[in-house]
């Protein structure tokens, strides 16, 4: 498949501050690609380089086979972008804001815009400054989607959206994917990437540490489990189970970490008179640290 995004040893630094370092990345046409990393890892920097909003310190980046610094306008023509943090024009209404960017692009399908507005349940008559954070995000999403771009670059797109609107957003992304469009989506929420992406890259401290199918990343995930019993239970009963680690006992409570299926743990717990079970999904940082340790920043990155 043709690569829509390709970077080679892409580096961006801000004076003494790290941005991204030697990033090699390839996103194929029609792919929904997740870009995962903790805050400050370099996700936004990468996206801004791809859009030629900032220039690489070294290395190169191509979008649609065009080097980003050579002809950014040709790239922008086929891209929809939602920044992670943005503030548009206070005095324009939502409708005017959408119309303004539609005008700057030209050829926007009015019916499709109306559908997006309806789907996201946006009141376009209000001024931008009167919108809540979630509604501002909706305007940004419509601006990014309205021209049916070949490539969507979305920086933390569901931030501020309520769960129902998030569902709508995921449906729109799926629709874009079904139409063969490419989606490059950053997030620090595993679940968000899990639901939408086929492949995922993990970035940390400016370096790419892993690029893999979402299934492989999913295998990294684990659960923190808290088991409450009627009385004290010997932790050794759990320590030997497959995928179980970090078992600790504290009176009637046992805490442990489970990778993979949790069925065996539940069975053993049931046999010991379990009263309550609490299972927490870790955040990306926890997963990452568990897998790679504090200082891991290098791995077999590549498409």
């Amino acid at each position: 498949m043709t690569a829509v995004i390709r970077t080679e040893r892409l580096t961006k630094s801000y004076g003494d501050h790290r941005g991204i370092i030697d990033l090699d990345l390839e996103v194929a046409e029609g792919e929904t690609f997740g870009f995962l990393g903790p805050n400050g890892a370099g996700k936004t920097t990468t996206m801004r380089v791809l859009l030629d909003l900032i220039r690489p310190t070294s290395g190169r980046a191509e979008v649609f086979g065009i080097e980003t610094t050579t002809d950014p306008v040709a790239i922008h023509r086929r891209v929809g972008y939602l920044p992670g943090e943005f503030d548009l024009y206070d005095r324009l209404s939502g409708a005017d804001t959408i119309a303004y960017f539609g005008n700057l692009r030209g050829g926007v399908d009015r019916a499709y815009v109306a559908r997006l507005v309806d789907a996201l349940e946006l009141d376009t008559s209000r001024r931008f400054k009167e919108y809540s954070k979630g509604n501002k995000q909706k305007v940004g999403l419509i601006v990014a989607l309205q021209h049916r771009p070949d490539l969507l670059i979305l920086d933390e797109p569901t931030a501020g959206l309520d769960p129902l609107v998030q569902q709508t957003f995921f449906a729109l992304v799926r629709e874009a994917h079904d139409e063969g469009r490419t989606i490059f989506l950053s997030s620090h929420i595993i679940d968000e990437v899990d639901r939408t992406c086929e492949r995922v890259a993990i970035i940390r401290e400016g370096r790419l540490v892993q690029v893999d199918r979402i299934e492989a990343i999913r295998e990294l995930a684990f659960h923190h489990v808290e088991l409450t019993f009627r009385g004290p239970v010997d932790p050794a009963a759990f320590a030997g189970l497959a995928g179980v680690s970090d078992v600790e006992a504290q009176g009637h409570l046992i805490t442990l970490r489970v990778s993979g299926p949790i069925g065996a743990v539940i069975s053993v717990a049931a046999a010991h008179g379990i009263v309550d079970v609490v299972s927490r999904e870790p955040n990306l940082e926890d997963v990452f640290l568990a897998q790679y340790g504090e200082h891991a920043t290098d791995a077999g990155a590549g498409a």
Binding site: V73, A99, V117, E121
Partner: protein, 560 residues
């Protein structure tokens, strides 16, 4: 939630492209339209307020009467005459307007391009909307050119309004032959104003991609005011005179079409300078990282420590840098006046009629002292600038609420009342800090020249008090209604009072209106003459303003 159908057009219409949301140019021009009309209107008001009495008053009814009046004015010392323009054909309406109004008008009007062009790209980059805009299929060069083009169009529109007013003043108030101002002369004059207005703004635009909005704004203001003052005071000192070639006011001093003389070469040269500066800004925007500035952290004014003890220290610390900057600027202007005080006194002493006239208007003012000269030449403009500075601090004060920092602050155990009282007092302290800097600089100037120092310093204190009084009104409105109104109210009061003081008498406004100016009730403070009633009233405005602000903020919704 209801959803209104958006009005997206596949192809924006021509009108929308020129003055609407059909293009970057159209939107920028639409956003600038009100400012253009206000700027053109205010400039026209100056022309009307000066030209109407000149044409209509019987004191100027014959050529001979005009010559007598002009002889008196041109006999004024250089310190005063320099602030006016080139004395060319003053017996005609056009010549008189060009001389009396035309010199300082580009300074006042030039504030607009400096503020607008320093932030037209850098400000939008700071808030993040430029990322979205730059991700559309418009090259950065196109975006920058459209934005600059729209601002230049807005300036041109303002100047067209001014040209129409100038022509109308000549047409309706002409009394003697030659008073009519041909539309070609009016247009020729406003082309000069437009080009001069843009110079400071173009410099700000050129430097903003490198140093950020605030520093670019400062560069533009420094060049604008320094050029004006160097040109105006060049004849007072060989040192200032040596700087004249650097002043763009002096480059174009020979172009006064309203007075019947033109020097288009100088205007064209300045226009080329403007274009080059704007081109530098466009290229810099095209080539540099969006929103990134050079490592110029060292390029800043001395400031106070971070100020994290509470709302008072936070407010003062945030405003301290700009307060010191205003203080240095106003103080240096004051030093210039003090340095020329002796020359001024000598000139007055050699003109008994003028001296008698000044004694009549300013009884008790000793013109042999720097204090008297300061009262005569510094107090009026200084009071205006002091209050504008106060308005700028209130804009910063309001940003706490506008940018929603206040909501975070008020989730701590700081009550609304406590925050309002202490932050408003912090804003007042910034005015005090600026006043202190001005006092120190002018005080040093007086010490080096000799003369009474107590009265001028007390007078500077009164200027600070008056500015704080206006700020008190702004704070009251900000607290009771909306924080963002505070700076606007203060600035409008400053401009209205300045217009009242400078044009009110010429427009023959009723005395009851003229007395509305607070400066009519403060005495001659720079010369040591004080009016207690005015000082008490100003103090009440300060305390009452802060109290009303506190009261209002405890009653209304936050974030309005």
């Amino acid at each position: 939630m209801t959803s209104a159908a958006p009005t997206v057009l596949d192809r924006p219409g021509p009108f929308s492209r020129v003055l609407g949301i059909g293009s970057v140019y159209g939107k920028t021009l639409r956003d600038s339209l009100v400012a253009a009309i206000v700027v053109g209107g205010v400039a026209g008001l100056f022309m009307l307020g000066t030209g109407a009495p000149y044409g209509a008053a019987p004191e100027f009814g014959t050529t001979e009467l005009r010559r007598q009046f002009i002889a008196g004015l041109t006999a004024l010392p250089l310190a005063l005459r320099g602030l006016l323009g080139e004395p060319i054909n003053l017996e005609t309406m056009g010549g008189f307007l060009s001389w009396r109004v035309g010199n300082f008008l580009p300074v006042l009007l030039g504030l607009w391009p400096v503020i607008a062009l320093s932030g037209i790209l850098a400000g939008e980059a700071a808030k993040g909307s430029l990322d979205v805009l730059a991700a559309t299929p418009r090259s950065r060069r196109t975006i920058a050119l459209e934005k600059v083009g729209a601002h230049v169009t807005a300036v041109a529109l303002a100047m067209l309004i001014l040209a129409a007013v100038i022509w109308a003043v000549g047409a309706f108030f002409a009394k003697l032959p030659g008073d009519e101002i041909p539309i070609s002369a009016a247009l020729g004059q406003v082309v000069l104003y437009g080009v001069m207005m843009l110079t400071g703004g173009a410099l700000s635009f050129a430097t903003a991609p490198y140093v950020g909005r605030t520093r670019a704004l400062a560069f533009g203001l420094i060049v604008l005011f320094a050029s004006y003052l160097i040109y105006s005071y060049a004849s007072l000192s060989p040192v200032i005179d040596a700087l004249t070639p650097l002043s763009f006011f002096s480059w174009t001093a020979g172009h006064r079409p309203m007075a019947g003389v033109s020097d288009w070469t100088s205007v064209a040269f300045l226009a080329v300078v403007d274009v080059v500066l704007l081109a530098i800004g466009v290229l810099a925007f095209e080539r540099r990282d969006l929103g990134a500035v050079a490592n110029v952290g060292w390029l800043r004014l001395p400031s106070l420590p971070a100020g994290i003890a509470g709302p008072f220290s936070r407010q003062l610390a945030d405003r301290a840098g700009i307060a010191i900057a205003w203080g240095l600027g106003i103080g240096l202007y004051g030093i210039l006046i003090v340095a020329s005080a002796q020359a001024f006194s000598d000139s007055i002493a050699s003109l008994p009629q003028i001296a008698a006239l000044i004694r009549l208007v300013y009884p008790g003012v000793d013109l042999s002292q720097p204090s008297g000269v300061l009262q005569l030449t510094f107090f009026g403009f200084g009071s205006f600038i002091f209050t504008l500075a106060a308005a700028s601090y209130l804009a910063g004060w309001a940003s706490d609420e506008g940018r929603r920092r206040l909501e975070v602050v008020l989730t701590t155990p700081v009550s609304r009342g406590r925050w309002a009282l202490r932050s408003a007092t912090g804003g007042m302290a910034a005015i005090a800090l600026m006043t202190l800097v001005v006092a120190v600089l002018i005080g040093l100037g007086i010490v080096s020249q000799g003369g009474d120092i107590v009265a001028p310093l007390a007078g500077i204190g009164v200027l600070g008090l008056a500015a704080a009084a206006f700020a008190g009104v702004g704070l009251a409105v900000g607290g009771l209604v909306r924080a963002s109104l505070a700076a606007w109210v203060t600035a409008i009061l400053a401009i209205a009072t300045f217009l009242l003081d400078t044009l009110g008498a010429a427009l023959k406004l009723p005395d009851v209106i003229l007395q509305l100016s607070i400066y009519k009730h403060l005495g001659q403070p720079m010369a040591g003459i004080f009016e207690p009633a005015g000082l008490i009233a100003a103090s009440v405005m300060v305390v009452g303003g802060v109290a009303l602000c506190t009261f209002g903020l405890t009653r209304r919704d936050i974030g309005r």
